[in-house]
């Protein structure tokens, strides 16, 4: 009889029901998204003007420790890694050993980092020099705003470092 029409209406109905189902799934996916307050907290601002040279400052960015180290007069900047802020050079890097994630300690007298877990060592600019770490300390996205460092945003200095690292 009206098999084909019943078939058509049935399919149309099924399609509309499916659309509703898909829309619901999309809404459910969005409900899982990190909250706006979490995303906005993904930025940490640090005023570096008051920092002492050769003394490690640790900021927190997205739950991770970030090493900010102001160079003293006898510390030489490393091309492609050290950042110039105002009149001084700084190291800005994530303080997690690239071997297995422990937090290395800064040795002010030797201007280097030593990781207690498996003996890895990094230079003042975070380049690995001894032990198991496979690569230098990661550099977080950052932006410079005068003497303010904004972690989490990609500024031109960060992009330049990344470009150089990619080339090397």
């Amino acid at each position: 009889m009206d098999e084909s029409r019943r078939g058509f209406i049935g399919k149309a109905f099924g399609a509309v029901a499916a659309v509703g189902g898909i829309a619901s799934l999309i809404a459910m996916k969005k409900t899982w998204d990190p909250l706006p307050s979490v995303m906005s907290a993904g930025f940490t601002t640090v005023d570096v003007s008051g920092l002492e040279a050769n003394k490690l400052e640790i900021a927190v960015w997205r739950g991770k420790p970030v090493f900010i180290l102001k160079y003293s007069a006898d510390m030489k900047p490393t091309d492609g890694r050290s950042v110039k802020i105002g009149d001084h050079y700084f190291s800005v890097m994530i303080g997690l050993c690239t071997h297995l994630g422990c937090i290395p300690a800064y040795r002010a007298d030797q201007h280097d980092f030593k990781c207690a877990c498996h003996g890895g060592e990094f230079t003042d600019a975070g380049v690995q020099k001894f032990g198991p770490p496979p690569r230098p300390l990661d550099i977080p996205p950052f932006k410079l705003d005068g003497v303010t460092l904004v972690l989490g945003e990609e500024g031109p200095e960060y992009k330049a470092i990344m470009a150089k690292a990619g080339g090397a």
């Binding site: 109905f13 459910m28 969005k30 409900t31 909250l35 307050s37």
Partner: protein, 416 residues
């Protein structure tokens, strides 16, 4: 091991291992439902859909809700309602769904009473259904506590206080239920456990049992007519679809359910988006304050008739205090529906309008429940208190009289 030949199709592969073809016949295409039914028969599917909405929306609320007296209110009214993408939508669906599910439960229940679908082999369907009503009531009550607003707190306080009326163990029982001397964090977390895990599991089990209990006696029909389902099924399968008195669950019965569901959803979503104060009472947007009782406290609408029976007895009778009388009447009111199949002494399975005495009893009960519901909301002062007393007494009398009314009816009809 059983011998498995190579399957010719994916369907046959699954059928060899899981018996899916037979399963589909038994559950769907050869599950026979009477043809002479009206849209009230769709309430069961409506309830299943609403329950699914409640569980799914509940799952998403559960991701962000914090069951702690200091964090609960803000986790709901700030995080979920204003920060989480579509959080407000899940909360609205959950709150409105919880309220509307009771509307459909009552329609479903009174349909059963009207058509006599609780007797002559269908007693277990009725009992499991009433058990579901009680489980849903407990689920609603425990859920309402979670936002930790003023209504949440004071409803929890008043209702847990009721148990103090039980002789000998009352006072200790109240402290045991609350986990503290007063409604506090321990009360919130245990009711959270009940609401999220224990009661939903019990509801799922009861639903499965309720569906199972339907199979042997078969679904009732508009005339209460008894017929041979096997014979009618044969007619249908032979191709005599129009002469057969039955239809298969899928696709025929469910197609009608979906149609009713569609228009019901219009009503439901209108409430969810535009008219939800009845389900999310404004008083509950004040944070719980144990030192300040709101000017007007009342339970959710579906508990009002029961609440009115509780407070309908406000003076001493024959040496028993109003409070104790109310408590006893409240216990009676909530339990009596369970034994309805045994209170009805007539063997007639007929719609109420074809039962000479039962029809008056039914509509009298409907009117009484409406009066109890409305007066359960109004302040119990002056004339209202007396109306409450009269309608509570009427409720008790109606049920006590039912065996006598139906026995007389049976005699009258049998005598013809």
């Amino acid at each position: 091991m059983a011998e498995f030949k190579k399957a010719d199709s994916m369907l046959e592969w699954f059928d060899q291992r899981l018996g899916v073809v037979n399963f589909a016949k038994v559950m769907m295409t050869e599950y026979w439902i009477p043809k002479n039914i009206n849209f009230l028969w769709a309430m069961g599917v409506l309830l299943t859909v609403l329950f699914t909405f409640l569980v799914v929306s509940g799952i998403f609320l559960l991701m962000y809700y914090k069951p702690d007296v200091n964090m609960a209110f803000d986790s709901v009214n700030y995080t979920i309602m204003q920060e989480v993408a579509y959080g407000w939508l899940f909360r609205h669906i959950h709150a409105v769904g919880a309220s509307v599910v009771f509307l459909v439960i009552y329609i479903h229940m009174f349909t059963g009473i009207y058509y006599g679908s609780y007797k002559k082999g269908r007693e277990m369907i009725w009992v499991s259904g009433m058990l579901l009503f009680m489980l849903f009531s407990a689920e609603g009550f425990s859920g309402y506590m979670l936002p930790w607003g003023q209504m949440s707190y004071w409803a929890a306080y008043v209702i847990t206080e009721i148990f103090g009326g039980i002789p000998v163990i009352g006072d200790e029982l109240v402290v045991w239920i609350r986990g503290n001397f007063y409604v506090s964090d321990s009360t919130l977390t245990r009711f959270f456990m009940l609401h999220v895990l224990l009661i939903p599991l019990a509801i799922l089990g009861a639903i499965v049992f309720h569906f199972y209990a339907l199979r042997f006696p078969h679904v009732n029909n508009e005339e209460g007519e008894f017929f041979d389902f096997d014979e009618e099924a044969e007619k249908y399968l032979a191709g005599n679809k129009k002469e057969s008195k039955v239809v298969p669950f899928w696709p025929v019965f469910l197609s009608k359910d979906f149609f009713v569901l569609g228009f019901f959803m219009l009503f439901f979503f209108y409430l969810v988006f535009f008219h939800y104060d009845f389900a999310m009472d404004p008083v509950n947007f004040d944070k719980a304050d144990g030192l300040k009782t709101p000017a007007h406290i009342y339970p959710e609408w579906y508990f009002l008739w029961s609440y009115e029976v509780l407070r309908g007895f406000f003076f001493e009778i024959a040496g028993v205090s109003g409070k104790d009388l109310g408590l006893m009447a409240f216990g009676f009111a909530n339990a009596i529906f369970l034994v309805l199949p045994w209170l009805d002494r007539s063997p007639m399975v007929k719609p109420a309008n074809q039962r000479p005495y039962f029809k008056y009893w039914f509509w009298f009960l409907m009117a009484d429940l409406i009066v109890l519901t409305v007066y359960g909301k109004l302040p119990p002062t002056g004339a209202n208190a007396w109306v409450g007393f009269a309608s509570s007494m009427t409720f008790l009398v109606l049920f006590i009289a039912l065996p006598f009314i139906t026995k007389a009816e049976a005699k009258k009809v049998g005598g013809k």
